[in-house]
């Protein structure tokens, strides 16, 4: 008989089959998560001997009274708000255009996708040159438009926009590929029917394509927000290992990195990690609740 009622024995056998994967999951995922949660409560702690001297909420108290933490939180939020909407609009627009051309579509897809598969370090080197205040391509271009040279990487006012622009550019290709996949799942006959129903191109997009694409838009949004909250390496390499001029691009993960690797405050680092975790969790839950109401899964 193929279908058995689950007994204690069959359940154990089932777990036995799952054991190798469960073991890996436990050791590399579940345990570190729980451990870092625990670590955030260790106020006196020796990381190397794993000796716990004191447990308490002290780390969180220190964290919330640290102006740098609030700066990092503010910067991260500005970064996410700056990157996600523009990135989604741009990549959706480009995906729509690519979806309509046959000629060279593959070529353009590759071009847009290249930044995604290229190492962030290499990309940042190129962008450091583009952003250079004297010889940079961007300032050269802006000069033609009559805009004075901007010190992108050394002016605290412009460091965040510079980071946002580079991140948008880097993530574009991946989002475009996702949107193209979503678009190719939409039956072309809807466009024809809409045309007969009297919808123009914009109305077809507004009332037909966009709603049908919403599950993919949701996915891209959630993924962009999460990766936005986790931004670190772009900052690290673009500003040469510093959190930008005047800490202008100090993000939460960068803050965590500083606490952990340069100040050896492991408890504080873990606490900021926990805060980041809950931040992402809250945003994702909000996203999810929104999607249940407004997204139609065919």
């Amino acid at each position: 008989m193929m279908i058995k009622k689950p007994t204690l024995k069959s359940t154990l056998i089932g777990f036995l089959y799952l054991a190798p994967m469960l073991l890996i999951l436990l050791v590399f995922n579940i345990f570190p998560i729980l451990d870092s949660f625990a670590m955030s409560f260790f106020t006196k702690y020796n990381f190397y001997t794993n000796q716990i001297g004191q447990i308490g909420l002290g780390n969180f108290k220190t964290l919330f009274s640290d102006p740098n933490f609030w700066l990092a939180l503010k910067n991260t939020l500005i970064f996410v708000i700056g990157v996600v909407p523009i990135s989604i609009c741009l990549s959706l627009g480009i995906a729509l255009l690519l979806n309509h051309i046959r000629f060279l579509a593959g070529f353009f897809k590759t071009v847009y996708f290249l930044p995604f598969v290229t190492s962030t370090v290499a990309i940042s080197l190129v962008w450091q040159w583009i952003y250079n205040d004297q010889y940079g391509l961007l300032n050269l271009f802006l000069r033609h438009l009559g805009i004075g040279p901007i010190n992108w990487l050394n002016d605290p006012k412009w460091a965040m926009p510079a980071l946002i622009i580079m991140t948008i550019w880097k993530g574009l290709g991946f989002n475009i590929i996702l949107f193209l996949a979503g678009l190719s799942n939409i039956d072309q006959r809807y466009e024809r029917v809409a045309q007969i129903d009297g919808a123009n191109k914009w109305q077809t997009f507004r009332y037909i394509i966009f709603p049908l694409l919403s599950p993919m838009t949701f996915l891209v949004t959630v993924m962009s927000i999460i990766s936005g909250f986790k931004v670190f390496d772009e900052v690290f390499v673009l500003f040469g290992g510093s959190p930008g001029p005047g800490q202008a691009t100090l993000t939460l993960v960068f803050y965590l990195y500083q606490k952990f690797y340069t100040e050896w405050q492991y408890g504080l680092a873990a606490a900021s990690g926990v805060v980041l975790f809950f931040l992402i969790l809250i945003v994702t839950v909000i996203n999810y609740l929104y999607s249940r109401k407004h997204i139609y899964y065919v």
Binding site: V193, Q195, I196, G198
Partner: protein
């Protein structure tokens, strides 16, 4: 509204011509069927009427207006597709209202019109559902309601019943006919199912290889097919086609010589072959065939026999006549459903009348 095609041709990619020099007129307020095997160009013809495709040559008129260069929106056509193509993210009500919304009709009037149409197609109770929650037949009703919403100049149906099961198909067929009569909208219905076309249409246009084969009323197509293709395509079971060469002398007494000398095939509908002692109106010929098999399917008896080296099928020879266990059958032909065709497949003589003149 009348639709007129004037020398319309269409080629894809400048190579293959799909439609050749079509000339026809679709009458106002009637239901016209485009019928043909797959790949015959019937859906393409429909798309030309709709404006989704534009012809490579020729002109299309709606009444007196030249619409050749106009798109689907300007032509104000309503269209129903085989797979319904309802917007899955909208409710039934929103689906029906969509064309009205695009035409900037007031919300209140949209609702009124949608309810009117829902009543017409019997889906008043489903207005709040999404298409995914409806059965195939209901989805098709919604699609029809949506296509009628903006009072189209012409309603185009592209194989609307092909995705339904047999029973529902008959039901929806009659329903579409009722809706068409009730609204009086000029309707073009594409199908590959001759039965559907025969039941629903005022006029049938038979297409094959991108050309109009015959265009007239359903019964006329059955009684007077214009060529061998039409004779074979319409009618189930298929007609018997028998080489005429050895039979000419039998027909010489009642068929004018100038016709007989061009005729190459005798075409006989299976129900026009009757036993020799039948009292119906018969042609003055007497044939004899060798019985191969006889089987009864409900009301129908299919008798296969060998005649002049051909296997022919007769459905009007009664079972009782066969029980004499004789191997040979004497049969005669009725004065309907018997035709002669020439070398090119054109039908040049029909037993129920005089020479065939291609009318309509």
């Amino acid at each position: 509204m009348k639709v007129r095609f004037e020398n319309v041709s269409l080629n894809y990619d400048k190579q293959k011509e799909v439609l050749h020099n079509l000339n026809f007129e679709i009458p106002n307020g009637k239901l016209t069927c485009l019928l043909g095997p797959s790949g015959c160009g019937k859906s393409t013809t429909l798309n030309l009427i709709s404006g989704l495709l534009l012809p490579s040559a020729g002109k299309i008129y709606f009444d007196k207006q030249d619409v050749t260069k106009k798109d689907a929106l300007d032509r104000r056509v309503g269209m129903v597709f085989q797979n319904y193509a309802l917007y899955p993210h909208m409710t039934v009500l929103e689906n029906i209202c969509f064309p009205l919304k695009m035409a900037k009709v007031k919300k209140k009037d949209q609702l009124k019109r949608a309810q009117e149409l829902a009543k017409l197609v019997h889906i008043s109770n489903e207005l709040d559902k999404h298409p995914g929650e409806l059965s195939g037949g209901q989805q098709q009703r919604v699609a029809i309601a949506r296509s009628l919403a903006k009072s189209p100049s012409i309603l185009l149906l592209d194989e609307p019943l092909s995705n339904l099961d047999a029973r529902l198909r008959v039901e929806m067929r009659d329903e579409i006919r009722k809706i068409q009569v009730a609204t009086g909208v000029t309707t073009v219905f594409v199908t590959h199912d001759q039965d559907e076309a025969m039941h629903i249409a005022d006029k049938i246009m038979i297409l094959d290889t991108g050309e109009v084969q015959q265009y007239t009323t359903p019964n006329k197509i059955y009684d007077r097919p214009s060529n061998l293709f039409v004779a074979k395509f319409i009618g189930n079971p298929e007609v018997n086609v028998i080489p005429l060469a050895d039979l000419k002398s039998e027909f010489a007494s009642f068929i004018p010589n100038d016709i007989l000398k061009n005729a190459v095939s005798l075409i006989v509908r299976p129900e026009s072959i009757v036993s020799a002692d039948s009292t119906q109106k018969l042609l003055p010929v007497n044939f004899q065939g060798k019985l191969l098999s006889a089987s009864r399917f409900g009301k129908e008896t299919a008798v296969r026999m060998n005649f002049q080296g051909e296997t022919i099928l007769a459905t009007a020879i009664l079972q009782e006549k066969l029980e004499q266990k004789s191997e040979s059958i004497h049969f005669r032909l009725k004065t309907t459903g018997v035709f002669l065709s020439d070398q090119a497949g054109k039908i040049i003589w029909s037993a129920d009348g005089e020479r065939i003149v291609n009318d309509d």
